[in-house]
Amino acid sequence: MTSSTASTFAQLLVAVPVLAAVVSLILARSAPGASRAVSAVTAVLGFLVSVGLLVNVPAEGFAAATTVGPLQVGELKVPLELLVDRPFAVVALAVAFVVACIQLYSVWYMATDPRGAVFQAIVSMFGAAMLLVVLSGDLLLTLIGWEVMGWGSYLLIGHHTFRRSARRAAMKAFLLTRFADIGFVLGIVALAAQTGTTRLAVIFEHFGEGAAAPTAALVLMLIGIAGKSGLIPFHDWLPDAMEGPTPASALIHGATMVAAGTVVVGRLFPLYAESTDARLVLAVLAAATTVYTAVMAFTQNDVKKLLAYSTMSQVALMLGALAAAPAEEHGAAGLDHLVSHAVFKALLFLGAGWLAAIGGGTAFALLRGRMKGWGVLPVSFGLGLAALAGIPPTIGFVSKDGVVAAAREGTTTGAHIVLYATYLTVFLTAMYATRAYLVLVSGDPEEPDHHDDSHTPPPTGSSYTLVAGVIGTLGLLSLVGGAAFLVQGAHIDPTVAAVSVGIALLGVLVSWALSRRPGGDPATVLSESWARATQVNLGTDRVYAGFAAGVVALARVVVRLDNAVVDALPRGLASGATATGGAADRAHRGVPSTGLLAVLSGGLIVLVLGVALWR
């Protein structure tokens, strides 16, 4: 069963980016050029290793691999091993591929950035963390990768340290995900406590043998997953995270952090399949998030924000598929959609970075019609949007069809909720994808009112070749990648496909019809005030701030209670003693003879008491 070649590749796949991150971080200050080269080359190398892993991974079952050797913590067994099977090898391939694309793209995009080498080193580290989560066979390793990603997201989002909004967004992402991680850690601890090990294979066995599903632990882990994946109520950090450089957004949204929740749920699918309650919670959260964020995406006036909301919507779809799929499906639909989303979302973000370089900003007002005449860009970007909308024959169509099919096959309440939410989302997604395309290819742009130095000039010469190559490759994959799923065993039910494509086309039509109105932007159908409210996510930030203020106020009350009530007795004793001492001090005029008298009398009384007690 265990393939030693696959194990070696799995070890390499984690080790290479880790080493790359360390080496390039060391070189970043002294030799930024070499550091960047290390990052880019090792990213490509990592992609090749992931191909090797996929080729060698056993078709059935798992391949295990050791890392730094097992830990024995008291009663707890922590093997620290990697575990890889075919679906996760595919996910690892997608991650390594996207990281490689982003590293190559960053060579151009971050060329003028003085801290570009550091940025690329962090991207390597981020990729290593995500690959660790994907390949982890041990809950502790999962947690390590998970937390390193949280830290990396802070560094990447806050890369432009000179901007206050970037620093705030980084802090917000970090605090929100850290807050949610409390649940994740508690869930892991609960699982480890029930089984006495953090080894996934043993945990599956333990709960597979008729033990009651660990619903509480699974729901706790869902909190952390909701935090990382931006599910309601943690849905406000992702739009703010657009403060980071565009490659960072592509990385976080495409294949890593946001998708990590899907990976973990997919990895623990055998457990989640047992627990209907935990899956219902996930289904409700995912359904609410996917619809809500699709609506938000439609009205955004910034291309990156639109993509951010669309990411949340799509990730919620993946999680919905995992929540709805019947137990025997092994959650393949969700993971397939993760892979396809990684491809087309990376494409869209990298394209948005190019657009920002052309237009000097990411607001739609600056980018109106800017996409015309850049060769591969409009074609690829259009293919990415088509994949997002689920138009056949793109990769998005195939994987979204899998999600719909999984939701239809599910028999639980959660599955029904997810199904209707998915239909609604397909419609909304088609609308906003169409809107984005129409706005970008038609109309005249505004000139930026001020020149922003943080934006890179458009690519020329060899960097144009590089960027166009990356974008073109991603565009091609978006178009034909779906075939790979079909080869892997995904199948398309004509009825299901017809319904979902019909809904998507309806969305496209509606959006197109709306764009005929004056102004050319379908989103202008909404009232001014509503449009403004959606720009700030309906004030979620204020809700967070209010929540935090409430917690702080509560803490103040507790402190005051602690001071006034709990500490009152010792405090009273102390002040009583002080007051008595003060009174005695005032009464005592320092006359030696009375002092002597008091001391001797007191000593005698103590003596008498002592003797009396001793007797």
Partner: protein
Amino acid sequence: MTTRDIVFICFAVLAAGCALLAVTTKQVVHAALWLVATLGTIAGCYFVLGAELVGLVQLLIYVGAVIILVIFALMLTRAPIGKHDDLATPGWQRAIAAVVGASLTALIAAVVLPVVTDAAVDIPASTNKGVSAAIFGVWVWPFELLSVLLLSALIGAFIVSQVVRAAGRPTGGEGR
């Protein structure tokens, strides 16, 4: 009731009486002299109890040196000669002092007497040799330590007087 008992009781009564006079007399110098008498009779008690060395040390150091110091101190602080009614603390303080003293006596008597009521002990002819051997054998380190203590007391007394002098003012007593 042996001869020793009787002799001891005589010394004890004398000692107690002299002590009482030492704390109640109205002449300052008399108090010091009654203390001499007290300590001397207590030395007699030690002899009766067979502790000859202790009695000799008592006579030598207490009656000899310490009393001289006390009398010197009285003279240096210009103790009045003759009867003086104002040597005692206010009446209420003396009343409490009497109660405290009586209580202390009662307490010690009540605690220690039951231990020794039935004990009839033989007093050995001489213990000097044994005590000397013990001081320089078993107790030699505490003994050496005491010599250091005496030295530091000497230095301490010197420093106390020097510090007051160095405080930069003429001595109060001389100025009057």
